[in-house]
Symmetry: C2
Subunit: 114 residues, 2 copies
DNA sequence: ATAGAATATGAGCACATTCTAATATTGTCA
DNA sequence: TGACAATATTAGAATGTGCTCATATTCTAT
């Protein structure tokens, strides 16, 4: 675990929790490309307004995003461009040219190896 | 969100959930370096046996790890070496030389920006 | 066969998450 | 001011997680 002190693990875990959700990951992906308003995100993800708003709030509180209002619209963006590396990495793992990581599909029923 | 189809997002989300926990992330970090037995992981993380075992099981079911038994010991390893990229990325974000990503500390109380 | 070491599993409580539906807030425009 | 658009917040039920403690399983060695 070279060079990953417990304290940093704690911080990293917060970010992971903030992203460990289909809708939130989708949002992160979109915002990794460019800042977007809530309505744009809503259109892009197909999420229900109040639900999306809640997830955006959580991501903001978790330190992933920041936002600013422009009259009636609120634009969200990555709090740090470094977070885009996360989606890049995930893409590299799951959409890799070498087709890596093909986990055991959703729980087959239980008990597999061993 | 170029090149990250909903279906892949779903898969990636499973992996993220599997890692979005301090103990599990620590385990992933250790196993990113080399395969380890349960007792080694136990010593390395200081976790309670049954608790660790449960987390390992979850990570295995989620497709992150595989394991094999050698007499009484069970050795766990990354199901795909590509998963090590995840810990690498997190390290690059949180232990970066440029000190990036300094989120707003654990929930101050609530309500910040806006 | 028995005992002990290394792991796994199950029960159950406490607490966190997620979703929906309803309502509140903020800003624009006629 | 009143109505409408864009977002946010609240409430509450449903579901999921994580932990501990007790117990089961698997091997090995005597």
């Amino acid at each position: 675990m070279t060079g990953f002190p417990q304290e940093k693990i704690h911080e990293a875990t917060r970010a992971l929790r903030a992203v460990a959700h289909e809708l939130r990951l989708a949002v992160l992906c979109h915002l990794s490309e460019r800042p977007m308003t809530v309505s744009e995100l809503q259109a892009a993800t197909g999420a229900v307004q109040s639900n999306l708003s809640q997830h955006l709030a959580k991501m903001r509180l978790m330190g992933l995003l920041t936002c600013e209002r422009h009259s009636q619209q609120v634009t969200y963006r990555l709090a740090d461009p470094a977070f885009a590396r996360l989606t890049e990495t995930l893409k590299s793992i799951y959409c890799s040219p070498t087709g890596a990581a093909c986990p055991g599909e959703d729980p087959p029923s239980k008990r597999s190896t061993l």
